[in-house]
Symmetry: C2
Subunit: 430 residues, 2 copies
């Protein structure tokens, strides 16, 4: 790894720019964000022209139209992205918030205060709107950002980042708070992953393979995002109509997202009543069910497409109109199944029993446990964060939807009047 590689040089510039950005007040950051929103609108044509090249190349390479659609930018889409940036302006600045503050018996004042993380690296796929979203959230939280989008969007991202940097510079901030990681090669990702000391955190956003690569190869701390194998558990005591409604919404309202349900678990005491209703509704929604023996039995005579489930189905993140389904003998068995197979994203229980709701929320260890609500609510916007940089599925630092506070760290400020420490039993290990 050369010290002078373009990626490391960019990281070093980001570090210097982050030091300038960190102490700036909200007004300076908001002014830069407003300049970005205006520049996106003013230079929309330039961006769509660059994007058209990416789109043409993608089509020429035989890329699926659904992927091409995610890549494509129009004037309308750019206006929506600019509106999102204005939305970030309206959000409170997390930096400077006193998380804890107290006075010690010896009179020392202790304040734990939110500060920016420093340099944030985002590695993401396809959609160029992420370029602007991520840059805006990092800027608002006082962080410099290194953006590493997919090679297929390189021209679009280059054009977008040029617009963002010009706007930031015009607002009097260092342009290097926003940088596209140079190069389209895999190597630039690897270099980013090894830039410990220059980059404070990496957030991979995209498919499971990308996330695994970053998690396993990075010496920079990583926030793992997004794989979702979410469960809906229908308890013995339940409101059948509510259960059908939550199941359908969780599975089929939008199938390609991480908070969509992939597995249904039904308590045996309610299976006979519930499964015919559920299968009929799933059939109408076009869902293929991958059922265990009990579900297959219940499906006889049903309009639903039900095939036999294998172990692979219990672990699958389908992201499609498919649903694994099993009957379980107890709430504890449902929890056991979830513990074994879930990705720890979101699990829902539908129950009328207070005791069951309490037990399920205690025992299930996922980022979000929903009681009588759809799994689809696990989302920064739905949670009222105003914006989201991703959904963390790890336990360290942030768990669940991440908004602006999750893009910060803290520092302690200790204030005295010449306080010195007396003799005592030492507890510090370092």
């Amino acid at each position: 790894m050369s010290i002078d590689s373009p990626v490391l040089a960019a990281a070093r510039r980001a570090r210097a720019a982050a030091a300038v950005l960190a102490p700036l007040p909200r007004s300076a950051k908001d002014a830069a964000l407003l300049a970005i929103a205006e520049a996106l609108l003013a230079r929309s044509a330039e961006i769509t022209a660059a994007n058209a090249e990416d789109v043409a190349r993608a089509r020429a390479a035989g890329t699926a139209e659904s992927v091409v659609d995610r890549l494509a930018l129009t004037g309308e889409r750019i206006a929506a992205i600019a509106a999102d940036v204005r939305g970030v302006v309206a959000l409170p600045d997390p930096v400077g918030e006193v998380v804890r503050g107290y006075t010690l018996p010896n009179g020392l004042d202790v304040r734990q205060v939110r500060v920016p993380l420093g340099v944030v690296g985002i590695i993401y796929e396809a959609r160029p709107n992420v370029t602007v979203d991520a840059a805006a959230l990092c800027l608002k939280s006082g962080n410099a950002v290194l953006l590493r989008g997919s090679a297929s969007a390189y021209r679009s991202n280059t054009a977008l980042v040029a617009v963002l940097r010009d706007a930031v510079a015009a607002a009097g901030l260092p342009a290097d708070v926003i940088q596209l990681v140079p190069g389209e090669s895999r190597e630039s990702v690897t270099e980013l992953m090894r830039a410990r000391g220059l980059v404070d955190v990496l957030i991979p956003r995209g498919g499971a393979a990308l996330i695994r690569t970053v998690v396993e190869g990075s010496t920079v701390p990583v926030i793992e995002t997004g794989t979702g194998n979410c469960h809906v558990y229908v308890d013995a005591r339940t409101d059948l109509a509510m259960a059908v409604g939550i199941l359908l919404n969780s599975k089929a309202q939008r199938v390609s997202v991480c908070n969509a349900a992939e597995t249904l678990l039904v308590h045996q005491d309610v299976a006979e009543e519930f499964l015919p209703l559920a299968l009929a509704a799933l059939a109408e929604a076009g869902v293929t069910v991958h059922g265990d023996e009990a579900v297959l039995k219940a499906a006889v005579g049903s309009p639903a497409t039900v095939v036999a489930a294998t172990d692979e189905d219990w672990g699958a993140e389908y992201l499609s109109l498919d649903l694994a389904a099993a009957v379980v003998p107890s709430l504890e068995a449902a929890v056991e199944h979830i513990r074994r197979w879930s990705s720890g994203h979101t699990e829902a229980i539908v129950t009328t029993s207070q005791a069951a709701a309490r037990r399920f929320t205690q025992l299930v260890d996922s980022t979000t446990v929903a009681v009588n609500a759809s799994t689809r609510f696990t989302d920064g916007s739905e949670f009222g964060f105003g914006a989201e940089i991703g959904i963390s599925t790890q336990k360290l630092h942030a768990r669940g939807p991440m908004g602006l506070p999750e893009l910060t760290s803290t520092k302690y400020i200790v204030t005295g009047d010449g306080h010195v420490r007396g003799e005592d039993r030492q507890t510090v290990g370092g």
Copy 2:
């Protein structure tokens, strides 16, 4: 990496035990901690006998007496360790704390609640008291712990962990919430570092080499602890006596710890007045000063031992009666020096200027910034946490002294009455 290796088997047992431990109320955990404290006293002889073997081996291997002293356990030391465990009993349980809670416009109740991390791995050196401290803190916070002490303390740790496990089991909890990582080889550390999915976090406690190895080789998320190259900056406007007092306390009250000062920076406007006082006091305390040109000049005729500093001195964590010292032209130059050389642990400013105090605390990006107070206060006990698992010098998850809340994660509990999500613009990326 074999699936059936003893280390991974231990991690798997820890995972199962953690699931049992996580939902237990405080009373169950406190009862186990009290049983531990009693068992340590009751089986003190057994522990000291095992420790005597480690001590004898260390002496035979020519280990320095200072290290042997840290390794040695006596009845008195074991009683003090047991008293610390009782101290943990008295601390509030972080699990279950509602960190944020609100109702969304659609009526959904959102609660962010503290939960245990799961399985915590601690890799540490020499002192066997860490074995009990770490186990007690992990137990209180609902985590299973995998302890990997140094090979030199293997017999002591084996005896201690046997006592802890028996006590925990007698209190009705699974003994596997506390385990010593089997084997004394380096390989067991490597296996622990690759046990992603089984171990939720690794906390290395010890020398810089150990920490670097873990940080660079681990796929399990790591909390980096403890390297301290702390600075004391004496501002242009300062109380000279206060500055000398804070400098001496920061440097010399205890030299072998991470929160001891290693570098003095003096504003040029006060250098002529301050340095003679400081050098005299440092000389009396037996401190060798590694000075820049200005300091060397000021030392002429002083009783202090002053040698010329090199770049190595600015980056050194001496952990000895040595101090690097430089004169700087401004507060900003001091900040620049700190940004370049500090390990980001603790930096102190001594000033009478409100503006300087404010600017220094804004610009310095370390776990702790002390204003008119010794660097030695950066410590969980001093901060009133009651206990400390280490001092994080990274920005992710925890920064600065870590107490019980830092050994937890959170989950969201979302409660509705059959809430489903409507059509909207999608923001989830996963």
